[in-house]
């Protein structure tokens, strides 16, 4: 899958998974931080995103520190998905 296509798909999945109904995929910038400033997600969201990676891409992240490195912004997530996806 092309990177841009994957980004678009991931944004749609994040919106659906986290019920961010007030956002459209184009509202999420690729380098916008997911947590704190930026999208303003919190610790529960980070766990939900790890579940998303597991269900949609077959990626298991056990170590929270690993999670923190992956769940920075759309770019870091897409890079990680491309490298580790099993489905």
């Amino acid at each position: 899958m092309e990177k841009e296509q994957l980004k678009q798909q991931l944004k749609e999945q994040i919106i659906q998974f986290l019920n961010l109904t007030n956002l459209k995929p184009e509202d999420i910038k690729d380098d916008e931080p997911l947590f704190g400033e930026g999208l303003g997600l919190d610790s529960i969201d980070s766990i939900e995103l790890i579940v998303l990676l597991s269900r949609e891409y077959g990626i298991t992240i056990e170590d929270p520190k690993e999670g923190r490195k992956v769940l920075v912004d759309i770019n870091t997530m897409v890079d990680y998905i491309s490298a580790h996806r099993t489905k």
């Binding site: 919190d42 610790s43 529960i44 766990i47 579940v51």
Partner: protein, 396 residues
């Protein structure tokens, strides 16, 4: 307003099915947390729990509790309820009197039957299981009502993990306001696939035995328990045995996040402060604390900070959740009874599983069993939704 005393206690936890058995286990540093055996879950081997090893049928047999739709949560409650009213020497007429209130607390209620609930909730035809009226938290007190034909004020509180501390507080307030003459208050929760999966999904269940207040803590162990206390007013004691006085209570909301505490521990700080005010005590008067101490990263750090904020140097404290697991809706009442035992026997129990302090706060829980003079013991309970409650018991 009247002084309120505890005249009866009843308890069942993974440590034992009476107050004395629980006390001996605490003195002897027993840990009741172990792999699950009573029901099937994928986590039976990997997430140890403070499980009461008797299967539900055996508990029912012992209490002759074979009513239609009775659940483990209700049976555990009945065990502790019976014990508390017997201990206080209440007659059947006193228990069922219009002037006796029963205040229960539970978070899981009949949802311990997670699979039955799933089937019933997704079924639109057919007749359903026998548990249709048993899933909600109120079903426990309603069961006690039908069993004892209770005629007094009844209530059920669910504020997650602080539920039964709030039930005891509500009971004490009913007495102080002169609305009832006696109160039987407490809480109950049994282990459930529902809560095990819930806490596991939050990544706060420890794969090992939990280590409250330890630098390397990995999360909590769940547990199951029921505990009830009988509360009576000073003027109605009539020479009766008393365990302790309930001198103070306070509840506050952390108002920070649905499932974690604020960094500064505002909720924990405020509830302790309110309880001290209610008891007309200074922080220095508290001799011992039964902390909430779940063993999660967030709770133990925040609770430590709040303790330091209010006490400057903390009095001796432990978390008995290392012994019992976190018994959720029962925890407040279980730990109230442990605090009452501290006072009644003038002794403090040692923390188990603790090795190294959290660097930021440097607090270490009580290392060994000790006979000591105690006047005032504080018991803290914090729950989801930022709900924080502190109770203070005083030597009678």
């Amino acid at each position: 307003m009247s002084r309120i005393f505890i005249t009866g206690i009843g308890i069942i936890t993974a440590l034992g099915d009476s107050a004395e058995k629980n006390r001996q286990a605490l003195i002897n540093e027993v840990c009741g947390v172990s792999p699950l055996t009573n029901f099937d879950t994928k986590y039976a081997g990997s997430r140890p729990c403070g499980e009461i090893k008797k299967p539900t049928a055996e508990l029912q047999e012992g209490l002759n509790a074979h009513e239609h739709g009775v659940t483990r949560t209700s049976v555990l409650a009945l065990h502790a309820f019976n014990q508390s009213v017997n201990d206080a020497g209440l007659s059947i007429a006193e228990i069922s009197s219009p002037h006796t209130a029963v205040i229960g607390a539970s978070t899981v209620g009949g949802m311990c039957l997670t699979d039955e609930l799933y089937n019933d909730a997704n079924m639109t035809t057919g007749s359903g299981s026998e548990y249709l009226a048993s899933y909600d938290a109120a079903s426990v007190v309603l069961y006690l009502q039908s069993r004892y034909q209770l005629n007094g004020l009844l209530n059920t509180i669910n504020t997650a993990c602080s539920s039964s501390a709030n039930a005891i507080m509500y009971g004490a307030r009913l007495l102080k306001n002169g609305l009832v003459k006696k109160v039987i208050a407490g809480g109950t929760d049994s282990l459930a696939k529902y809560t095990i999966n819930g806490f596991n999904a939050l990544h706060i269940l420890s794969p090992d035995l939990c280590t409250p207040f330890d630098r390397d803590r990995k999360g909590l162990n769940l547990g199951e328990a029921a505990a009830f206390v009988v509360l009576e007013k000073e003027e109605n004691l009539d020479g009766k045995k008393v365990y302790a006085e309930i001198a103070g209570f306070g509840n506050s909301n952390d108002a920070f996040h649905p499932s974690s505490l604020s960094n500064e521990g505002n909720g924990p700080y405020l509830c302790m402060q309110k309880a001290l005010e209610e008891a007309k005590l200074n922080p220095g008067d508290i001799d011992f604390i039964n902390a909430h101490g779940t063993g999660t990263e967030n709770n133990d750090l925040v609770e430590s900070k709040a303790m330091l904020r209010i006490f400057k140097t903390s009095p001796p404290f432990i978390s008995t959740k290392a012994n019992t697991g976190h018994t959720l809706g029962a925890a407040g009442a279980v730990e109230a009874i442990y605090s009452i035992l501290n006072l009644y026997h003038q002794e403090i129990y040692p923390a188990i599983h603790f090795q190294q302090s959290i660097e930021e706060t440097g607090l270490s829980p009580q290392p060994d069993y000790r006979k000591t003079s105690l006047k005032h013991v504080m018991s803290n309970s914090f729950g989801f939704g930022g709900n924080c409650t502190s109770l203070i018991f005083s030597k009678a």
